[in-house]
Subunit: 241 residues, 2 copies
C-alpha cells in the first residue's frame, strides 16, 4: 500500500519538500488533492484538518498518510520517510544531525515566505508591498547569506558532495529546493549570492541529476513555481544585496 | 556527567523550552552562558557557532551538549530529551505525534516573535513599530486564536489533562510556556482569548504545580520575562482581538 500525500494542489509550497523525498524513494504515492477521483481531493484534505475523522489532526498541510499513521509538519514527515527509506543515517546521532539541518532549512523557509508576507498571510501582497520591500531587502542582505554560508560551511567539512558526506539525505533534497526557489524568486540577487556558495550549487546540481529526481522534474507531477507559493517572483523585491 | 545547555544568558527565549524540559527530568545541567566560571560563558558558546571546534556546528543557540553529542534546534533537542527521559512515548507513532505538536508550537513561536520584529530581527523595535502594530493586530485577531483553539481541540480529545492524555510530554511543558509568555506580552488580549481555551489553561496550571517545575519557577534559574526575548510586552501591541 502506497503513501497518501495531502497538500494544496496548485503550488509547490512546503509540500514540495515531501514530494521530492517521496520521489527519491521510488515508492508509490498519491498526491490526493491533485487526484480528486482517487481519494476525494481537497475536500477530503479539509476533513482531516477538521479533526473529527482522525485521532491526530494536523494543524495544516502537508501531511502524510501511511496506513493508520497520519503525520503532519514537513520536517516530521521527512524524519519519518528518512527513517524508513534510508534517507537519513540509522544511528541516533546521524538522525538528529540530519533533522537539525532540516529544521534550519525550515527556519529559512519561513523567512523566505515572509519576504512577501511580512504583515499577514491573510492579506494580499499588494496590501503589504512597502513592508515586503523592507523585509526582502533585509533578507537578501543579511539573512539569506547567513543561511547559505552556513550550509556552504557544513558542506566544506562534510567530506562529500552532500551535507552528511557521500550519502544523500532528505536535507540535501530540501537544500536543492531552496536553491531552485531562490533562483526563481530572486534571480538577480541570487546570481550574486551564488558566487560565495559553490558547494551548495554543486549539491543542487548533483541532486538534479539523480535519475528519479531528474525524471520527476520534467514530469507533470512537478508544479511550476508561481505567485501563490512560498517562492514568489516580484521584480521589486529582487534587489541587489 | 550532566548536560551543558548553551543559550543567551539574559533571556528566556527559545532556550526556555529546553530549560523546562531539563528541569522536569531532574538531571543535572549547566546553563553555560550563565555560568562563565564553569565553562567559559558566552565566548565558549560563540566558538561552537564558529564551527571550528565541533563536527556539527549549530546555526544558532540553543544547543545542548551531551557527552560527544552536540544537538541544535529547540525541537530537536526536545526530541532527544524526550526519548531519553520519558518525556515522550516510546513507540514511533507517539514520538512523531509529540514532535508534530512541538513543531506546531515552534511555528507559533516564530509568529509571536515577529509581532515585534516583522521587518528585521537586526533592527530595533522602534524602527519597525508601525509594521509591528499591524502584524500584532493580525496575530491577535487570527493567528493566536487559530493556534490556541487547535491545542484546545487536541486536549478535548486526548482523554487526559495533557496533550497526549494522562502522561506529560515535553510538548506540554512548551505549551505551558506559551501561555506564560502570551500572558506577559499581551495581558489584555490574552484575558479575552483565555475564555475559549479552558483546557489549555488547565494544562498550564497542572504543569505549574509539578514539583520540579514549581521549584524551578521560583528559583533564580528562571529568568524574568523582558523586552529582549521572544515574548515582549509593548502596551501598543496589546490590542483587543
Amino acid at each position: 500500500m502506497g503513501y497518501e500525500l495531502y497538500y494544496w494542489p496548485t503550488i509547490q509550497g512546503r509540500g514540495e519538500f515531501v514530494r521530492l523525498a517521496l520521489e527519491e524513494t521510488g515508492e508509490s504515492y498519491i498526491d490526493v488533492a491533485r487526484n480528486p477521483n482517487k481519494r476525494g481531493g481537497v475536500p477530503t484534505m479539509i476533513t482531516f484538518l477538521d479533526g473529527k475523522r482522525v485521532r491526530h489532526p494536523p494543524f495544516a498541510p502537508p501531511f502524510l498518510k501511511s496506513g493508520a499513521l497520519l503525520i503532519g509538519q514537513t520536517a516530521n514527515i521527512l524524519f519519518f520517510l528518512g527513517m524508513r527509506h534510508g534517507l537519513a543515517p540509522r544511528n541516533d546521532a546521524g538522525r538528529l544531525w540530519t533533522h537539525q539541518l532540516q529544521l534550519t532549512i525550515a527556519d529559512l523557509v519561513v523567512e523566505i515566505h515572509d519576504t512577501h508576507h511580512p504583515i499577514s498571510s491573510g492579506l494580499y501582497f499588494e496590501d503589504q508591498r512597502n513592508e515586503a520591500k523592507r523585509r526582502a531587502t533585509d533578507f537578501l542582505q543579511y539573512r539569506a547569506p547567513k543561511f547559505l554560508h552556513y550550509f556552504e560551511h557544513i558542506l566544506e567539512r562534510s567530506g562529500g558532495r552532500y551535507l552528511l558526506g557521500r550519502r544523500l539525505t532528505y536535507a540535501d533534497l530540501s537544500l536543492f529546493q531552496i536553491v531552485e526557489g531562490l533562483r526563481y524568486a530572486f534571480p538577480n540577487a541570487m546570481a550574486r549570492l551564488e558566487r560565495a556558495i559553490p558547494r551548495v550549487i554543486a549539491l543542487h546540481d548533483s541532486v538534479a541529476k539523480r535519475p528519479r529526481i531528474a525524471a520527476y522534474l520534467t514530469s507533470e507531477r512537478r508544479i511550476a513555481f508561481n505567485e501563490e507559493g512560498i517562492f514568489r517572483h516580484y521584480q521589486e523585491l529582487d534587489t541587489q544585496p
